[in-house]
Symmetry: D2
Subunit: 126 residues, 4 copies
């Protein structure tokens, strides 16, 4: 998934504000679902929540650059999934994150439904 | 209401990103309600929505500055209210906005409840 | 310019937070320049700043929706330009804004350079 | 440092968007410096950048809540510092993060100046 860096993403240091790399990764996860027509229904209280993040900030990104987010499944458990999500500018990796997502329904941890697993494409990268 | 400018509020131009002044004004409106213990209940589909904004950006603000948002009611109608909200840095006005808020319930325009009017303090400024 | 609504763009009311429509319009303006290879140099203190916004919020947008931003020049002056920028979801206009941008260099209002005018495509829409 | 949750901080899931906890921690770090009168000069290319984050999201926060960020130094090296930053709602810890910050000047890792160390209050918490 390609992401352009706009003014809103940068800060007075002239570079992308650190939390925005993590936002870009969330866009890539959501786009995986949205682009397949899956969208949370209003009032539907099930979905993934972020449980843990371990992130390395390897190099800064700048206004106007085009970045690319890649994602792959590292581990799949009954009610959670661990992804590696990287951000590259051209061939240079500038950010890398391991993120653990837990599947909740009505605020309780639940088994990930098969319909969701099908959208996630466990075998491949996205 | 005092608001500090943090890195997240600035952009690569070294100044506060333009939409953030409008965010600061929303914080001041919400704080008016939150500080009096009023908070939207989950699933409650009533509240004010932004209908129109007319905003003048008079001078830039910079990282680390302390700004002040002031608000006053310009006009009150059955189901909407018009506010003037200004932002000052010390004695210098850097932003001024007229904003029209409509009161909705279940996606329909409704009369503003008396309980809400009481919190708004129609006579005074906040 | 197509823009997808992600979680970061929505708020607890279940709709896109009002200032984000204005951010989307800024993305469209910047994309106009970035996609033609124009990017502000570091330390370059010239560019457009937002002077005035008059915005109508016509209908809410929701998580996962694909929106489209259109822009056209309403008026061009020596050192400023007025744009109309609209946001549609399909054929429904949900947001419309008139924005006045002033061209500054070293914090002073300046004549818009011809090189910038060429990128802006005064005659057409973008 | 107390932080109020506003609409801009929440998402359509009705809770605070995950990256905003990390933003709150950055506000607390910056406030440590700003409140002592230290503010980066324009064109000054030295300061801390985020190198690594390991974060646990323990419980959600909701619109209108008042949160508290606490910070303490876990380790201090020549050119970097590791902080633990926690967020509580009342007595409940809802977020905990270890963050490694590197001190850069002119894009190169440098020894942290004594003037900065003095502001950081290595011994205590902030």
């Amino acid at each position: 998934m390609k992401i352009r860096v706009y003014y809103e993403d940068t800060d007075a240091g002239g570079i992308v504000y650190h939390t925005n790399y993590i936002k870009y990764c969330e866009r890539a996860r959501s786009e995986r679902f949205f682009s397949q027509g899956h969208r949370p229904l209003e009032g539907d209280a099930s979905g993934f929540v972020v449980h843990h993040i371990s992130a390395d900030f390897l190099a800064p990104a700048f206004l106007g650059e085009m970045l690319e987010v890649t994602s792959r499944v590292l581990a799949l458990k009954r009610s959670s999934v661990i992804l590696e999500q990287d951000i590259h500018r051209g061939s240079v990796k500038i950010f890398s994150m391991e993120i653990t997502l837990a599947y909740l329904s009505e605020s309780k941890v639940r088994r990930i439904p098969d319909s969701i697993l099908a959208l996630l494409d466990i075998e491949g990268a996205f």
